[in-house]
């Protein structure tokens, strides 16, 4: 499997796709989110696994997003996600609230090929009251217990950033194994990586346990520092200054547009020169 170009990868994402994104502590591909903005993606339905952060906010700001399903949207220390908040207020996006383990569970159901999985908790929460797609059933082993049944969720596309790919298209994500579950549950997985290395991670005992098998990977592209401002394992840390600059700029439509011109379009144009 050979790497593709990140712009071609973005071009392969159809408008309206249901896209699963890990949050800022778990290898988001901010690089692909930026390429989707450059491509002018529209009506994307984003799934936060299990919460949403920086990549979601910039996609919303650029008008690429129709809806978000997530357990929270936040820039962490930098506070509320400004473009999410503005778009929700303006009514240009809809949000479907979940709770973290429910999102994991819906993806695990897809991963196992079962139509649903039960999860405890949730009953009595208004989250459930606003999820007609979630059902309360009787525990088949204890008629006295009510429990929530969550439907399997199959995203169209999993998007994340790995540390590296090998010659076979296996992707190393280290301990961030939830990226594996997202890939397993999704119809396609588009992955950016820092670099491609020779060999086969599955033949290296130490790397194998942090590797996602190429079986699940539809395409990968090289994007150096592609998780930035999120951290990448032990390779680079969270860039708090970048996020707080963004959070300040993105308070207004104009501020976001300027930020986007500089950090999404110009930065790419310079890199391409």
């Amino acid at each position: 499997m050979n790497p593709t170009d990140i712009e071609s990868m973005a071009a392969s994402v159809p408008d309206g796709a249901l896209i699963a994104l890990p949050p800022d502590n778990s290898l988001p591909s901010v690089a692909l989110a930026k390429a989707l903005i450059r491509k002018g993606a529209r009506n994307l339905r984003l799934l936060g696994v299990p919460v949403s952060g920086f990549a979601t906010d910039i996609l919303i700001g650029a008008g690429c997003v129709a809806s978000v399903q997530t357990s929270a949207v936040s820039l962490g220390e930098a506070g509320f996600a400004p473009r999410f908040t503005a778009a929700l207020k303006a009514g240009t996006i809809t949000i479907t609230d979940a709770t973290c383990p429910a999102i994991h569970t819906m993806l695990q159901a897809a991963e196992k090929g079962v139509p649903f999985m039960p999860l405890r908790g949730i009953i009595g929460s208004d989250i459930l009251a606003n999820r007609p797609d979630w059902k309360v059933i009787e525990n088949p082993f204890d008629a006295n217990e009510k429990i929530v049944a969550l439907p399997a969720l199959h995203p169209d596309i999993a998007v994340f950033h790995g540390a590296m790919a090998d010659s076979h298209g296996n992707i190393y994500v280290g301990r961030r194994r939830e990226c594996g579950t997202i890939a397993h549950a999704s119809k396609r997985a588009l992955v950016t990586v820092e670099r491609v290395v020779e060999g086969n991670f599955l033949e290296d005992e130490k790397l194998a346990s942090g590797t996602i098998n190429a079986t699940y990977i539809s395409a990968f592209a090289i994007a150096e520092r592609g998780a930035r401002p999120a951290a990448l394992l032990d390779q680079y840390g969270f860039d708090a200054a970048y996020v707080s600059t963004y959070a300040r700029a993105a308070k207004t439509d104009g501020g976001f547009a300027d930020w986007c011109a500089e950090h999404v379009f110009e930065a790419r144009a310079e890199a391409a020169e």
């Binding site: 919460v51 929270a72 709770t99 973290c100 383990p101 929460s125 208004d126 194994r177 579950t181 032990d234």
Partner: protein, 248 residues
């Protein structure tokens, strides 16, 4: 003595007492919770045999199954104590992390429920912590329930709120009657001043004592070995509260 400690230090000491009041093997502490984290470390440094899983620890993060593992661990009954807050908290210990106004937060949207709709049921117990103590936060009835304080029969529930600690007082929660009682008021507060700033009705049983001030030993631990443990994850908190800065 009264000005010898910072409010965060009083809160950390108060939380540590609540931790140690019940046998506790394993505590998970979420992001953006420096005061609860300080309280956990203080309990450990005071000798409580507690395992801490600090979810946002950068190096040596305890989880190797991704973000799912905390919820699985809690589902298994291995988390004795978790901390939760809320944009709104009401008198039945319902939490609102969604927002005010009509669903999904048409007036003010909060970030979202995170894992609260699960953790609040499945942790051995929960300590509610919110520094801001105002009628805006402590409301009679939350606008939207992210996680309910009590559950009807037939709903599996392992634990409830143990207490609610705010910048003004400590409440104890009584799941049997679905109400808070006032346990102690912090220095400078009274039952009446707390009542004036609280949107929900609560019980008062007899004389309400003052929340004990931190002892010199507690403060020494907080500013010493507790601060040492917290520097990597919460550098800004350590700088602000303990006046300690990372070496450049």
């Amino acid at each position: 003595m009264s000005t010898d400690y910072r409010p965060e230090e009083l809160l950390a000491v108060t939380l540590a007492k609540l931790i140690r009041a019940v046998p506790t093997h394993h505590i998970a502490v979420g992001a953006a919770s420096p005061v609860p984290a300080a309280a956990c470390w203080l309990a450990v440094k005071q000798g409580a045999p507690v395992r801490l899983s600090l979810l946002h620890k950068r190096s040596g993060n305890p989880f190797t199954e991704g973000t799912r593992e905390l919820f699985d661990l809690t589902g298994q009954g291995r988390i004795d104590l978790f901390f939760l807050g809320g944009g709104e908290i009401d008198g039945q210990a319902n939490l609102n992390l969604i927002g005010t106004g009509a669903w999904p937060g048409r007036e003010v949207r909060f970030p979202g429920s995170f894992g609260s709709a699960f953790m609040y049921f499945m942790s051995g117990r929960t300590i509610l912590f919110r520094e801001e103590h105002s009628p805006r936060v402590l409301v009679e009835k939350v606008a939207n329930i992210s996680a309910p304080g009590i559950s009807e029969p037939g709903v599996y529930r392992r634990g409830h709120a143990q207490a609610l600690v705010t910048g003004r007082c400590v409440f104890t929660f009584h799941p049997d009657r679905g109400r808070f009682s006032l346990t102690s008021v912090h220095e400078g507060e009274t039952v009446e001043s707390v009542r004036a700033m609280t949107g929900f009705d609560f019980d008062v049983e007899g004389e309400v004592p003052q929340t004990p001030a931190p002892t010199a030993e507690e403060l020494a631990l907080l500013r010493g070995s507790v601060c040492d443990e917290m520097m990597e994850t919460y550098p800004e908190f350590c700088a602000r509260v303990f006046n300690r800065k990372l070496a450049a």
